[in-house]
């Protein structure tokens, strides 16, 4: 038994290693600073590991990883802070140094995306990753038609935001 567990662990680590880019992208988009990013990375890895035994290989590891990572990012809630009204801190607030090591286009894109809500972020992230409407609809739980309408709106919103930050 321990050998099997070790094999599963090694297999999981190998797969994760190959797709760390997905982890970095999702945690980058859903965080406002390095601390939040680290917390989200931790939670995503934990959820991936916990869900790995139920991964049936009906799809690619990367497809499954997007689903788990996005589900984790969307269901992770902020803690209430005593004496601080957290609602006063907008989601779009972020540490300027956070995206310093990124190219200029990514910095602008990040700034614009940080003004979208969590669901819009998930949809645009999957679009940026070249996922089909079917795949996006499968991840979010909306119909393909609904996704296409939603994407048009989000893209228009994103363009306006990019214009502002350019």
């Amino acid at each position: 038994m321990p050998k099997i567990n070790r094999d599963i662990k090694t297999e999981f680590l190998d797969e994760l290693d190959k797709h760390q880019g997905i982890l970095q992208k999702i945690s980058f988009v859903y965080s406002r600073n390095s601390v939040e990013k680290e917390d989200l990375c931790q939670e995503i890895i934990l959820q991936l590991w916990k869900s790995y035994p139920s991964f049936k290989r009906e799809c690619a590891f990367s497809t499954w990883m997007y689903r788990v990572a996005l589900n984790t990012a969307l269901s992770l809630t902020k803690k209430p802070k005593l004496f601080i009204n957290t609602e006063e801190i907008p989601d779009s607030f972020f540490d300027v140094e956070y995206s310093m090591n990124k190219s200029e286009s990514i910095k602008i894109l990040y700034q614009a995306i940080s003004h979208l809500n969590k669901v819009e972020k998930a949809i645009i992230l999957l679009w940026l990753e070249d996922k089909s409407y079917e795949e996006i609809s499968d991840n979010i739980g909306l119909t393909v038609k609904n996704i296409s309408v939603r994407l048009v709106r989000i893209k228009a919103k994103l363009k306006e935001l990019i214009k502002k930050f350019q």
Binding site: G21, Q42, L48, S51, P80, V119, L128, G141, V149
Partner: protein, 241 residues
């Protein structure tokens, strides 16, 4: 004004090297795999475990009181009832713990995942929060019984102002605890509800969210009335009859 070309940003996104260069080491990943979850299921579980531990300690404390008051029939009966009430609360909490949705994040889409958490909270967890709110009250009652035992050797007869003070502390400790617990959990659930509302914005299913809110209100009112009536009966039984 130049038209924004999103494809240009999409291409930059795909080519961004830093996403592939910032790699976590295996040791770090292994460390992360052993941590406890901070998601909503983790929060439900953590709060239930803490409450179960507190209630086990309180039931142990009532168990000792059963021995201390073994020769005083009326107080023995009250202590036994409180002991059974604490055990009942532990059983309820364990049952709810077992029902916490063991969500495998890879098995369902975002919408279904959010629904399962919100549904669980509104249908089951509201009762757990009310049961958890009893811990402080039970702790106070057992503490008072110890105080009376070591000071008077029995629970001395009460004056009018004693009833008032004890009654107020018992009710207040319950209400304060319930207020804090509900505020804390509704803060988390509201965030999930907001995400679900963002998904459902064009859909007829948004009414489902309203249904959950109604269900939550109804359950909270029913459970509160039952528990509050029970609490008043307890106060009457303890100090008046």
């Amino acid at each position: 004004m130049e038209e924004i070309n999103l494809e240009k940003y999409k291409s930059a996104w795909k080519k961004e090297q830093s996403f592939f260069e910032e790699k976590l080491s295996r040791d770090r990943i292994l460390k992360f795999m052993q941590l406890t979850s901070k998601n909503i299921s983790g929060l439900f579980k953590k709060s239930l475990i803490i409450d179960i531990i507190i209630k086990i300690l309180v039931s142990f404390s009532f168990g000792v009181l059963l021995i201390l008051y073994s020769s005083q029939n009326r107080i023995l009966l009250i202590t036994a009832l409180l002991f059974l009430l604490t055990i009942l609360c532990i059983i309820i909490q364990i049952k709810i713990y077992k029902k916490i949705p063991d969500v495998k994040n890879g098995d369902q889409n975002i919408k279904m995942l959010l629904y399962s958490y919100i549904d669980f909270y509104n249908r089951k967890f509201v009762l757990s929060l009310l049961v958890a709110s009893f811990s402080g009250t039970l702790f106070f009652i057992s503490g008072s019984f110890y105080y009376f035992y070591y000071k008077y050797g029995t629970i001395r007869s009460f004056q009018y102002d004693d009833y008032l003070v004890f009654g107020i502390i018992i009710v207040f400790s319950f209400l304060l605890s319930a207020f804090i617990q509900f505020r804390n959990f509704s803060f988390h659930i509201r965030q999930l509800e907001n995400s679900l509302a963002d998904i459902e914005q064009d859909s007829i299913n948004e009414s489902k969210l309203k249904h959950y809110k109604k269900l939550n209100r109804r359950n909270s009112i029913i459970y509160s009335i039952i528990l509050f009536a029970g609490l008043l009966l307890l106060v009457l039984f303890l100090f008046v009859i």
